[in-house]
């Protein structure tokens, strides 16, 4: 039984180690003779190759072995070799570093998607006057100048089921001055003027699909922008919380950040010890709600309460909720925006 079907010229290590070791032992005698022949043939071939034009030698890859066990074995071997080489390289580098001491070059930072983010022209410069003016006179200016206090109405799509109802109640505990109302199939366009008449500043509608809340519409009431989010989350476990908004850098991110900030009353003296965090990463907004305790001067303990969910912005519309005739400031266009992995909108 022939062990190998080796073509005449090959130079990768794989061929020689093609057979498993136990088999090699049993066929040791034959193997040696064949090996010598191969070597001779190889020498001849190598000479031929050197004389002729440079051509790519037909290389052999592990994936061409038809036998699954042997293939697996060869692959494992290959991996081990690679790992060994990598470790050796690392050790070498470490030694060089130590040898150089202070003069060693700084450590290289690994590339991540956030690191490689494409330069976005809409990133806000903190000193930009125009942006500052724009933000000073937009729909949230009344809130940020301290003139109005937020009053939030939370409702759902029609006929909500258990999870959605629980989520609404949790949201109501997180956001101070929030009221939950049953929807009763009313049209939002009719609800909105009534809310404005009763001095509500925000309307939150949790959309439900198959007994699970999956969308959220945040509408700032006196004529404000309306944002529509996709939501994913899990069920968790009155004082006004502090609000932390992380990583909202672009112009659009700023608008959304202000939208969230205006949900909570402004209170420079934090009475309670609760924090609501909206963290933006890769266009996903993560919401967490914690309570913190100072154990001693240097250590803080945090306890998570409240719902934990993730939002993704689907659209931002100028004016109050009007999905048909409203003017959209930003719309999520999945296939267009997916083209570059390193480009984010918020």
């Amino acid at each position: 039984m022939d062990i190998t079907e080796v073509p005449v010229s090959e130079d990768s290590e794989g061929k020689k180690k093609k057979n498993k070791k136990p088999k090699m032992k049993s066929k040791a005698g034959n193997g040696e003779a064949e090996k010598k022949k191969k070597q001779q043939q190889e020498v001849v071939v190598v000479e031929n190759m050197e004389k002729s034009e440079p051509a790519f030698p037909p290389s052999f890859s592990v994936s061409e072995i038809k036998n699954k066990q042997r293939r697996h074995f060869m692959f494992m071997k290959l991996k081990q070799e690679k790992r060994k080489q990598k470790m050796q390289l690392k050790k070498k580098k470490k030694k060089e570093r130590e040898a150089l001491g202070d003069k060693a070059p700084p450590k290289e930072v690994p590339k991540t998607i956030e690191n490689q983010r494409v330069y976005d022209e809409t990133v806000v410069d903190p000193e930009d006057e125009e942006v500052a003016f724009d933000e000073g006179t937009d729909e949230f200016s009344a809130y940020f100048n301290g003139l109005t206090n937020p009053k939030v109405l939370i409702t759902t799509s029609d006929r909500p089921r258990g999870r959605t109802v629980r989520f609404c109640e949790q949201l109501a505990t997180v956001i101070p001055n929030a009221h939950v109302y049953y929807r009763r199939g009313l049209a939002l366009k009719r609800v909105i003027p009534q809310c404005i008449a009763r001095d509500f500043t925000y309307l939150i509608v949790i959309n439900e699909d198959r007994k699970v809340p999956n969308g959220m519409v945040l509408c700032h009431l006196p004529d404000g922008p309306t944002a529509h989010f996709k939501r994913r989350g899990k069920d968790p476990t009155e004082h006004s919380p502090e609000v932390i908004l992380n990583n909202f850098t672009t112009r659009l991110g700023h608008s959304i950040g202000r939208l969230f900030a205006a949900l909570f009353p402004q209170d420079p003296q934090f009475v309670g010890r609760q924090v609501a965090t909206f963290h933006n990463q890769r266009d996903f907004i993560f919401f967490r709600f914690h309570r913190y305790i100072f154990k001693n001067e240097k250590r803080v303990g945090i306890q998570e309460l409240g719902p934990r969910f993730t939002l993704k912005l689907r659209s931002l519309q100028k004016g109050t909720f009007d999905s048909k005739f409203g003017e959209y400031e930003w719309v999520l266009k999945r296939h267009e925006m997916d083209a570059c992995r390193r480009k984010f909108q918020l």
Binding site: E121, D134, T137, F325, Y328
Partner: protein, 341 residues
């Protein structure tokens, strides 16, 4: 200094804060030109147009009822005049007539012709309620078209202001015999003929022919599900570029009424569209404050797209107003209305 930068700019945009922005496509830079020390929302630019065919002066209409003149040669605002009260509504159209007269139209429907010297309008006519747009015919300067919400397209001859030269009839009742609503958002005069093409808030594009005895639209095309907000005619006269509130821009063919192709790239609503008079490129202005230059080939697929405008411009969202185009470049800007020369 300012004069240099203003001469470089080929596209002009007005913003919601009252700043006039000029964009130089070749350099991909934007410049801000501001009239007053303090920015204010009252100065929001609602309408822009060229004051003369040589494109040396721009007219800006603001929310507070003033029309300002900006000279591109000098790079500064030269004059301002009061043309109406803010209570009547914002400017929906501005046009310039020969002999330094200005035509203004406000939302409540009052169309006025102002002469240089007097502060009272020379001619005044009422074009109905809720006018959304007024446009001037590039060929016959004394003809203007107006249209709005529940206000059908009317073509006025300014020399005979008593009644419109052409009023469009509403579409036929639908299959339930219900009256079809109509909402004209933007219109344009097709060169080389009398026809007018309009786009509506109910995602339809209509072509009207005043020369024919038919007062209903000659051609009706539907595109998308969202209101079409802006419209422009590329050279060639066979097609029209429309944009809607979702930022979808498409080129429609006027001969058969088919969609020729769509343009990608805008994320917000389109506020204005402008096509170059000579080249095959178009400009759009949308909500998100980014400028897009599209170079269109004759193929079905529009591929080339670049972002024009510098960082400063990108940072400012929600700009409105119009831009004039010079003859070298075309740009699409988001959130800005663009005007043809």
């Amino acid at each position: 200094m300012m004069a240099d930068s203003s001469r470089l700019c080929s596209v002009w945009l007005g913003s919601e804060t009252g700043i006039l922005k000029g964009v130089s496509l070749g350099r991909k830079q934007a410049f801000n030109f501001c009239n007053t020390r303090q920015l204010s929302r009252d100065q929001e630019v609602r309408a822009l147009c060229w004051a003369d065919p040589a494109q040396s002066e721009l007219l800006l209409g603001s929310v507070d009822g003033t029309v300002r003149t900006f000279s591109t040669e000098k790079g500064a605002f030269t004059e301002a005049r009061r043309c109406g009260e803010p209570a009547e509504g914002c400017f929906t159209g501005l046009a310039a007539l020969s002999g330094s007269a200005t035509v203004t139209c406000v939302e409540c429907g009052t169309l006025r012709v102002w002469r240089e010297d007097s502060s009272e309008p020379a001619t005044e006519l009422h074009a109905g309620q809720n006018v959304c747009r007024m446009r001037q015919s590039p060929v016959h300067r004394h003809k203007v078209a107006t249209g709005g919400k529940d206000n059908p397209l009317k073509i006025w001859d300014l020399q005979r202001p008593e009644s419109p030269a052409f009023t469009a009839k509403n579409l036929r009742d639908d299959w339930l015999d219900l009256r079809r609503p109509h909402w004209v958002r933007d219109m344009a005069f097709i060169p080389d003929s009398d026809k007018v093409v309009t786009c509506t808030g109910y995602h339809q594009v209509h072509v009207f022919d005043p020369a024919s005895p038919q007062r209903r639209p000659v051609l009706e095309v539907e595109y998308g599900e969202y209101p079409l907000t802006a419209l422009s005619l590329p050279p060639g006269g066979q097609s029209v570029v429309v944009g809607n509130t979702h930022g979808q821009i498409a080129v429609l063919d006027l001969r058969k009424g088919a969609v020729r192709g769509c343009l990608k790239g805008l994320a917000g609503g389109v506020r204005a569209l402008q096509c170059h008079s000579r080249e095959e490129a178009g400009q759009t202005a949308g909500e998100a404050g980014s400028q897009e230059v599209k170079e269109e080939d004759d193929d079905e697929v529009w591929d080339a797209m670049e972002r024009g405008g510098g960082a400063k411009e990108e940072n400012n969202n929600r700009r409105r107003g119009g831009g004039g185009e010079s003859e070298e470049e075309e740009q699409e800007k988001e959130e800005e209305k663009a005007f043809e020369d």
